[in-house]
Amino acid sequence: MQNARGKAFVFGDDVNTDVILPGKYLNVTDPQELALHCMESADPGFAKKAAPGDILVARKNFGCGSSREHAPLSIKYLGISCVIASTFARIFFRNALNIGLPILECDEAARGIRPGDEVEVDFDSGRITNVTLGQTFQAAPLPPFMQNLIASGGLVSYARKNMGK
């Protein structure tokens, strides 16, 4: 998997799916259109400010609340290359893996990265570098099963393989 590198956008604890992608947009299924509203309730200008490759950083329980896959889709299709958080809410974590949005759990990195810092992520080793400050952090690697899931192209491809398609 290719390294990610971009500017950090930093958010706090318990960033929920209503903040990531408000309920009023759940009548939309086009991921490109969802991306225009990404993080709108926390920072209305986020979708305009974030450039492809940028990195979203947050603290504990990122993605709590609803099971709407629209939330990780909006982040992925905005071009965010990785979400780093202290912890992720369960359904969001699963949805992100299933759609191929790279995410890493690392509390030290989540605390040590400031808004605007240049951040590089090496997915193979789980190493996160704050290029601006010259600091490195080690994220917990994903369990092999989940790495396989991503390697086979997400859950649908994994299921196709299981179904012999």
Partner: protein, 424 residues
């Protein structure tokens, strides 16, 4: 090592003798459920799996409840995707407007969920069915698509958290107060990744509707699922609603719980969650002066018969405060009809409430009761995040139907006890 109820259900569905926390398993599913929001997003993924039909037309359930009756053209297009999918697959349990109710009230009422089952739903509040002793959890649309195609999915066996209930709740205290009290105590990630296993003598003091409300909000503490024991209260409810055979599981005496939280039900007060997290709770005695613009009574959390009865008991012969809008939504057509027969609809309407056909719309800021900037709503729903019910500068407070109904009369948040004393 002994297993919890959740672990036993997962083992049985994975064809294994035992499972342990952290183990990754593939489990067979008894029910796969989705709504107009999540099915619409799942259908393209379902097609991508290469499946021609769903794995079992009797086990895939579709309920058009979120933005139905169609709220706008985009919602209408989404509902059409779901309608076409349901017809193409000849689904036995497809619920459209008129027969549709809010999914988590509707499925137990229709007897479509039962103890011992493994259930996934494209809706985070799918954890509700744990009240019946099932393993039931919310998933996103890709998991939903794969579940519909294969009848299976992968799970990480959760570690467990025990919630031991003792005592008996006081007057006007219901399942909602118990759960808000618990979430206030453990936080919105207090049960992250774990199963919440309810035990103890206090369980028998909770009605089936109380248990549905409690299990419904397990996700608000980050839990994977919640599970209640199958006791006489549960069996009585099943006898009325469920005609399919079922199996119940009991925890081993040496089942391992990562931690235990004790709740004395007699000490729980009517509880309100302040903006903007369900864990930001205060006992009703400490709410202070909170004037309101809107009160909402309904949802998958509190739109059941007991909730309606509680609201009707308080609103009977009274008028809602003139500055308030009050919306009441019975969660299913059967509940609505029973409300009609019992005279509750008349009570609500004479009090000045608007009563509507079932929809999830208001709860998630979709339609039917959106808040403007600066407005404040007291709601029997499950989430009070920023912008949940409308403008990002609006506020949502969560409470029980009793507190909501009493506050609807007072125009500010009050306890039903205050109303009885004639202070409001």
């Amino acid at each position: 090592m002994g297993m919890t109820v959740t672990q036993k259900i997962l083992a049985a569905h994975a064809g294994l003798e035992t499972v342990a926390p952290g183990q990754l398993i593939e489990a067979r599913l008894d029910v796969v459920m989705g709504n107009d929001i999540t099915i619409a997003l799942a259908v393209p993924e379902f097609r991508r799996t290469g499946a021609e039909k769903v794995f079992d037309k009797n086990k895939v359930i579709v309920v058009l409840d979120h933005f139905a009756p169609n709220k706008d053209i985009k919602a209408a297009m989404q509902c059409k995707v779901c309608r076409d999918f349901a017809r193409e697959n000849e689904l036995t349990h497809f619920f459209d407007v008129g027969r549709m109710g809010i999914e988590h009230a509707l499925l137990p009422e229709q007897g479509l969920v039962a103890p011992g089952q493994a259930i996934i739903g494209g809706d985070s509040h799918t954890c509700t069915y744990g009240a019946l002793g099932a393993f039931s959890t919310g998933v996103g649309s890709t998991d939903l698509a794969v579940g519909m195609a294969t009848g299976e999915n992968w799970f990480k066996v959760p570690a467990a958290m025990q919630i031991r209930l003792t005592g008996k709740p006081g007057p006007w205290v219901c399942g909602k107060d118990v759960m808000l009290h618990l979430i206030g105590h453990i936080g919105v990630d207090g049960a992250l990744y774990r199963s919440m296993e309810f035990t103890g003598g206090g369980v028998a003091q909770l009605s089936m509707d109380d248990r549905f409300t409690i299990a419904n909000m397990a996700i608000e503490a980050g839990a994977k699922n919640a599970v209640f024991p199958v006791d006489d209260v549960c069996r009585t409810s099943l006898a009325k609603h469920c005609r399919t055979p079922w199996t119940s599981f009991e925890a081993d005496p040496d089942a391992v719980y990562e931690n235990t939280v004790e709740i004395d039900l007699s000490a729980v007060r009517p509880t309100v969650a302040f903006p903007h997290l369900p864990s930001n709770t205060r006992a009703i005695d400490d709410v202070g002066d909170v004037p309101l613009d809107q009160v909402f009574i309904g949802s998958c959390t509190n739109g059941r018969m007991e909730d309606m009865a509680m609201a009707a008991r308080i609103l009977k012969g009274r008028k809602v405060h003139p500055r308030l809008r009050v919306l009441v939504i019975p969660a299913t057509p059967s509940i609505y009809l029973e409300c009609l027969e019992k005279g509750y609809i008349r009570i609500f309407m004479e009090a000045g409430c608007a009563v509507s056909t079932p929809t999830c719309g208001a709860c998630l800021g979709g339609h039917m009761g959106i808040l403007a900037a600066g407005e404040r709503c007291l709601s029997t729903t499950n989430r009070n995040f920023v912008g949940r019910m409308g403008h990002t500068d609006s506020e949502v407070y969560l409470c029980s139907p009793a507190v909501a109904a009493a506050s609807a009369i007072a125009g500010r948040i009050v306890s039903p006890e205050t109303l009885e004393q004639g202070e409001a």
